[in-house]
C-alpha cells in the first residue's frame, strides 16, 4: 500500500516535472563487470545510444559481482541508485524472486527480430527468469600454454593428468564447475552428476579426484587472473571465461590454446531494479530495448567472443572490429567448440551452494 502510494506520488511528481522536459531521465547508471566485457558494451550499446540521445549522461559502475548484495542493501535503505544492471542468470533469478528486479514482458518491452519474430521466441529458452533480459552466452573453459605442453590437451580430463601435461593448473576457488569436471573425469555420466553430488559419497568422490592435482593448483577468484598466470608461465592450463582467453590469444598474441571440452555454459544479461522512479524506469527500458535488439547483440560480438543471446543475431556475427578476424569460430556456441557442454545448473546450485561451499573451503584448508 505504502509502496503504491509512494510510486503514485513519484509518478505524479515526475509527470509534473516531465511536462516541461522529456519524460525520460537525463542520466542513467549502467552497472557491469568492468574490463574488456564492459568495454564491449560501451562500444556496442552505450555509445550508439548516446549518439541517438543528445545530452544523455551515462554513469558506469563495475559492481556486478556484488549486484545482489548491493541491490538488497539499496532496497533496504530505500535508495536505488542503479538503472540497468548486468548480472548472470542465477543472480537475475534471485533478484526476481525477491522482488528486487522489474518483471519484463519480452514481446511488448523488447524489440522484435528484423523478420518480425517475437522477442520471446527469438530469445527462446534463454529467458530463464521473468526479469531477465538475456544478452550473451559465455562459458567457463580451459586455456593452455601451447609452448609449455608436449602436446595439446583434447579432453577436460587431461587437467588431471600431471604426468602427460606437466605444470600447474589454475582453477576457480569455488566448487561450481570444478565438482562437475572432477566427477565427469571420474567416470560419472553428465546426467548423474548432480544426483551424485547430493550424496556425501559423491562429494567425497569429487574431492578425491581433485585431490590428485590439489598440490599443483593455483586458485583464482577473479576471471582476469588465469590469463595473467598463463602469460607469466605460472600455470600451464587454467580455467576462466572464454572471452578473457580470446583477448589473451587474439588481441595480445599469447601462445595460448583453447580447450573447449566440457565447457560450462552460463548466461549473462540485463535486469532493471524494481521500484525505480518512472522517468528513470522509462529511460532504462528504452535503453535495454535498444541494446538487446538483433543488430546490437551481433555488434557486441565484434569486440568480445561471447555468443549473442538472440537466434536472429547469430548470422550477423562478423569480424572483430579491430583485428578483422572472423569471430564465429571463437564463439563458445560454435558447433565445433560445443561438442561436450553443460549448462550451469542454477537451480541445483541455489540449494546446495552454501553447504558445498563450506565443504569445499574445508577441503581447501586440509
Amino acid at each position: 500500500m505504502k509502496l503504491t502510494k509512494l510510486m503514485l506520488t513519484t509518478t505524479a511528481l515526475t509527470i509534473a516535472a516531465g511536462a516541461v522536459s522529456a519524460e525520460m531521465a537525463g542520466s542513467m547508471t549502467v552497472v557491469s563487470w568492468g574490463g574488456a566485457y564492459q568495454n564491449s558494451q560501451v562500444k556496442a550499446y552505450v555509445e550508439p545510444y548516446q549518439a541517438m540521445n543528445d545530452g544523455l549522461e551515462v554513469i558506469t559502475d563495475e559492481s556486478s559481482a556484488e549486484a545482489v548484495t548491493k541491490l538488497r542493501a539499496m532496497a533496504e535503505a530505500g535508495n536505488i541508485t542503479w538503472d540497468v544492471v548486468d548480472v548472470v542468470a542465477a543472480d537475475a533469478m534471485r533478484l526476481c524472486d525477491e522482488g528486487l528486479a522489474l518483471e519484463i514482458d519480452p514481446d511488448t518491452m523488447l524489440a522484435d527480430a528484423p523478420d518480425g519474430t517475437k522477442a520471446s521466441e527469438d530469445f527462446g529458452d534463454l529467458i530463464v527468469s521473468d526479469c531477465f533480459i538475456p544478452q550473451i552466452v559465455y562459458s567457463t573453459t580451459f586455456g593452455y600454454r601451447t609452448d609449455l605442453l608436449p602436446e595439446a590437451p583434447t579432453s577436460v580430463c587431461d587437467i588431471f593428468d600431471t604426468e602427460k601435461f606437466p605444470g600447474k593448473r589454475a582453477l576457480e576457488k569455488r566448487p561450481i564447475g570444478n565438482m562437475e569436471w572432477a566427477l565427469i573425469c571420474d567416470g560419472v555420466a553428465i546426467d548423474d552428476v548432480y544426483t551424485t553430488l547430493e550424496t556425501p559419497e559423491g562429494v567425497a568422490r569429487a574431492f578425491a579426484k581433485l585431490d590428485t592435482i590439489k598440490d599443483s593448483v593455483v586458485w583464482w577468484s577473479a576471471g582476469a587472473e588465469t590469463p595473467q598466470l598463463l602469460a607469466d608461465g605460472e600455470v600451464s592450463i587454467g580455467s576462466t571465461y572464454n572471452g578473457r582467453l580470446f583477448s589473451a590469444i587474439a588481441e595480445q598474441g599469447q601462445p595460448i590454446g583453447m580447450l573447449w571440452d566440457w565447457q560450462m555454459f552460463d548466461l549473462d544479461g540485463w535486469i532493471i531494479p524494481a521500484n525505480l522512479p518512472a522517468d528513470r524506469e522509462a529511460r532504462a527500458l528504452d535503453f535495454v530495448k535498444f541494446a538487446t535488439d538483433t543488430q546490437r547483440l551481433a555488434d557486441q560480438a565484434k569486440y568480445i567472443s561471447y555468443g549473442p543471446a538472440r537466434a536472429s543475431s547469430a548470422p550477423l556475427v562478423g569480424q572483430h572490429a579491430e583485428l578483422g578476424i572472423e569471430m564465429a569460430p571463437h564463439m563458445p556456441t560454435d558447433p565445433n567448440n560445443a561438442q561436450n557442454t553443460f549448462l550451469f545448473n542454477y537451480d541445483w546450485w541455489a540449494s546446495y551452494r552454501d553447504d558445498l561451499d563450506a565443504q569445499y573451503q574445508a577441503w581447501l584448508l586440509q
Partner: protein, 424 residues
C-alpha cells in the same frame, strides 16, 4: 564551643553559597567541553557504535529479507508448537494448512525464496523446495481443500521430509543462535546440537590461523623493525631524516600496489625465483599463494606501524644512559639488556598491539597472495557477505572476532599494562 555562624557556608561575591556557585561554573565548563567534543562524539556514534550495534543485532535476528521469520509464517509457528520432531511423525494436518496459507501470503510479497534461503542455511535443499513450490502453492484454493497434507505432498514430495519441518520449527523465533552455532562449526540435527566432523570445521581453523599468522607477522615486524628504529633514533638528524623517508615512502604507497608488487617478485616465474635458478638451484620455490607469501607481504606492509612507535619512544631515551652503563663496567650486551631494552618496552607494546590488531582484520593481502592455505577469517566473512549473502553468519563471525580481540586486549592490559604503552 559551638558557634554556628562561623561554620555557615562560605559566600561568593554575589551572595550565593560558594559551593553552589562553583558547581554552576563547573557545569557551564563541562557543557562547553561537551559541545566542543560533540561533533566527534556524534561521528563516533554514527560511524562506529551504531554499525557495531547493528552487526551485533544482525547476528541474532532471525530474518528473511527485512522481516522476521515468525512475522512471515505466523500460522505455522502456532501450528508447530505441539509437534515433536523426534517423534518420527510428520506435523499435523493443521501445520500443512498453516504452511499453505502463510506460503501463499509470502509468495504474494515475494518472500518465499528468501524464506527458503534462510532455512537452506540450516538444511541444504530447502531453498529449491521453496522456490519450486512457489507458483503451485500460490494457485491452491485454501477454502476448497480438505486434505492439505496430500495437496502439499502433491506439489512437492519433499514437503514430507521431517528434517525440513524440524528446521522450520527450530528456526521460527524472532531471535536465533544458529548463526553463532554455524560460526563455531556446530550444527543442529534432529538429535540436538552437535559439532561438525573435525575435517569440516572451517571457522575454528580459520580463526586459529588468523590469530597465529597475525602473531607471527607481529613478531617478524618486531625483529626487523627494532634495529631499524634504533638506527633511526641513533643517527644524526640529517641522515636519519633521509632514512625515515625510506620507511615512510612505502607507508604512503597504496596497499594494493605493494601487494601486487610482491606477487610479481615472489611468483614461480618471478624475479626472486629467476635469481635463485641463476645461482644454480634447479627447484623453483613456492613463495606465494601460500602462508609464506602472506607473512612476507604483510610483514613488509605493516612494518612502519612497528617502526614508528618504536622510533618515537627510542628518541626520548638519552644516549648518555648507555654511556653511563658502560662507564660503570657493563658489557655491550648487559647495557643493552638491562638499560636500553627495558626503556623501549612501551614502544614494543604499542607497535605490537597496533600491528597485531591491524593484521587480524587484514583482507586484501591474504585475498591476493594467500592462495588456499593463507586466507584469513576476514576473507571468509567477506565471501559470506557478498557472494553467499548470509549476512547473519558474517555478522556472527565478525562479532566473535571483535570479542576475541577485546579479550586479547584485556589479557594484554593485565600482563603488560596499557599504561605502559606509548606512542612517543
Amino acid at each position: 564551643m559551638a558557634d554556628t555562624s562561623t561554620n555557615g557556608p562560605m559566600m561568593a561575591a554575589d551572595g550565593t553559597p560558594l559551593k553552589q556557585s562553583l558547581a554552576r561554573a563547573l557545569r557551564r565548563q563541562k557543557r562547553r567541553a561537551l559541545l566542543l567534543t560533540a561533533p566527534l562524539l556524534l561521528f563516533v556514534l554514527v560511524s562506529f557504535i551504531m554499525p557495531i550495534g547493528s552487526m551485533l543485532m544482525r547476528s541474532i535476528q532471525n530474518t528473511a529479507g527485512t522481516d522476521y521469520i515468525p512475522d512471515i509464517i505466523p500460522n505455522v509457528v502456532v501450528a508447530l508448537e505441539d509437534w515433536d520432531p523426534q517423534s518420527g511423525d510428520l506435523p499435523s494436518e493443521a501445520a500443512f494448512k498453516a504452511m499453505a496459507i502463510d506460503f501463499k501470503a509470502a509468495f504474494k510479497n515475494k518472500q518465499h525464496t528468501q524464506l527458503g534461503r534462510r532455512f537452506n542455511y540450516e538444511t541444504p535443499g530447502m531453498s529449491s523446495l521453496f522456490r519450486k513450490s512457489g507458483r503451485a502453492i500460490s494457485r491452491l484454493k485454501i477454502e476448497e481443500i480438505t486434505d492439505f497434507k496430500a495437496e502439499m505432498l502433491d506439489v512437492d514430495k519433499d514437503w514430507g521430509k521431517i528434517e525440513y519441518w524440524a528446521t522450520i520449527k527450530a528456526n521460527s523465533g524472532y531471535y536465533t543462535g544458529s548463526y553463532y552455532m554455524a560460526a563455531f562449526d556446530a550444527e543442529r540435527t534432529i538429535e540436538g546440537v552437535q559439532m561438525k566432523d573435525p575435517d569440516q570445521r572451517i571457522y575454528q581453523k580459520l580463526m586459529i590461523r588468523t590469530l597465529w599468522l597475525s602473531a607471527l607477522i607481529t613478531f617478524c615486524t618486531l625483529v626487523i623493525g627494532y634495529p631499524v628504529a634504533w638506527l633511526l633514533a641513533d643517527l644524526p638528524l640529517r641522515t636519519s631524516n633521509l632514512l625515515m623517508i625510506l620507511v615512510l615512502l612505502p607507508f604512503w604507497t597504496s596497499l594494493l600496489v605493494r601487494t601486487s608488487a610482491w606477487k610479481i617478485l615472489l611468483q614461480e616465474q618471478g624475479v626472486i625465483n629467476d635469481i635463485w635458478i641463476a645461482l644454480g638451484f634447479t627447484e623453483r620455490l613456492s613463495l606465494i599463494n601460500n602462508q609464506l607469501g602472506v607473512v612476507i607481504a604483510m610483514t613488509h606492509i605493516l612494518l612502519p606501524f612497528m617502526i614508528l612507535p618504536l622510533y618515537s619512544v627510542m628518541k626520548t631515551i638519552p644516549p648518555s644512559y648507555l654511556r653511563a652503563a658502560k662507564s660503570l663496567g657493563a658489557t655491550n650486551t648487559t647495557a643493552f639488556l638491562r638499560v636500553y631494552f627495558p626503556q623501549t618496552t612501551p614502544g614494543i607494546g604499542a607497535g605490537a598491539l597496533l600491528v597485531f590488531i591491524l593484521a587480524v582484520g587484514y583482507f586484501i593481502t591474504p585475498e591476493l597472495v594467500g592462495g588456499a592455505d593463507g586466507t584469513f577469517i576476514s576473507n571468509r566473512i567477506y565471501f559470506q557477505f557478498s557472494t553467499l549473502g548470509n549476512w547473519g553468519l558474517a555478522a556472527a563471525l565478525g562479532t566473535i572476532m571483535l570479542v576475541i580481540v577485546l579479550l586479547l586486549y584485556y589479557v594484554y592490559d593485565k600482563l603488560v599494562g596499557i599504561d605502559n604503552v606509548k606512542l612517543g
